[in-house]
Symmetry: C2
Subunit: 215 residues, 2 copies
Amino acid sequence: MTGQVRTVDGRVAGRRGQATRQKLLDCLREMLDTSPYRDVKVIDVARMAGTSPATFYQYFQDVESAILEIANDMAKDGARLKALTEDQGWTGKGGYAAAEALVDGFLDFWREYEPILRVVDLASAEGDKRFYKVRQSILNAVTTGLTEAIEEVHTKGKSADEVAPNAMAGTLVAMLAAVSGHQKGFETWKIKMKDVRPALSTLVYMGITGKKPPR
Amino acid sequence: MTGQVRTVDGRVAGRRGQATRQKLLDCLREMLDTSPYRDVKVIDVARMAGTSPATFYQYFQDVESAILEIANDMAKDGARLKALTEDQGWTGKGGYAAAEALVDGFLDFWREYEPILRVVDLASAEGDKRFYKVRQSILNAVTTGLTEAIEEVHTKGKSADEVAPNAMAGTLVAMLAAVSGHQKGFETWKIKMKDVRPALSTLVYMGITGKKPPR
DNA sequence: CCTCCGATCTGACTGATCGTCAGATTTCTG
DNA sequence: CAGAAATCTGACGATCAGTCAGATCGGAGG
């Protein structure tokens, strides 16, 4: 469906074109690893890729569009997060283990894509719809997964739902994303990530089941 | 102690100078309300303030330094968040009310300073120590307040602490900050903020006490 | 009211980046 | 190998960053 890689002026890119395009994306991603987002310049990316700035503009509207491209790839990989919410029993010891797995999934995912996710976060908070959509496609999948889990727990136990399941799910997902995005920050505090993991897992478990996790 | 407002080259600014400086800060803040961080140009800020770019550089090293200035003012106001964690009983109905107050405090604070907080978040995640320090001074105050609350609950109840109090506190604070920073995002989903508030309050309450909130 | 001096502001400049285009170069096709 | 298509780039006008010497302002003192 989407397959065709195109240049800015609409032509379909051939073998060589796709290679340079990819090289530019790789260099951009490396650049974002080391430089502040605000300081990433097209000219630097081009230099690093051994091409001219004009070539960059042949494949991307601007820096943002290129980052969006990387973000879209990332979003595809985000499917692995949704998988962690499916076909799980969320009660008892197994439920806590599922929560732990979800937490680790988030921590790993954010570690891998940290710089990109930072930009996605900023841009979508600033109201850029394209980035917002990417963020959606990652987080919303997880949120709906968790929403279903909570609804299931609610119907099995008779407990009337004091809190809207989708709000609880959204909140938990936001929490996971936030903590995952500040792992370095936590470490620089006197808070160890090995202590944070159980805190997250506990909150996820409690948020879903309303109960304290089994010891 | 800090009082003296100085120009970049070290002179103490007089009445007129302080006024211009403040006007530049105001315009910068307004600019951040409407433009993406990456697109904020010194020249635009200067134009909006009715002065020349050279004047801007008389008072600020660069755009970041100016934003840092705004962020520092914000951090002072952040004291009101810490206040919400103090002198509270965190158990029973009063505890849930305290959790609600804390949640509302965060939501309000973020609504007020949203664009600045976005930049602070990005810059500190990117490793800028000056911004990291600002973020710290706001969140760490709350975190230590909550840590003490959790420790108190733990010692009053005999419950051995399964989760490190500071990790739990840090996680809750990160959650509050994240959700507060994405209020618009939630609304754009099918999730209503009026449902999110109780979800947050419930999680805060459960995180501190380990129990379900009273109805 | 005028003069003078320090505080403040700015025009103008250099250098860097943006974003574009026509033309050069490379690769593919037959 | 010629011709065409794809790809790349040098060069350019426009914009912005950041600097500096000199112009302007506002108040103190006469």
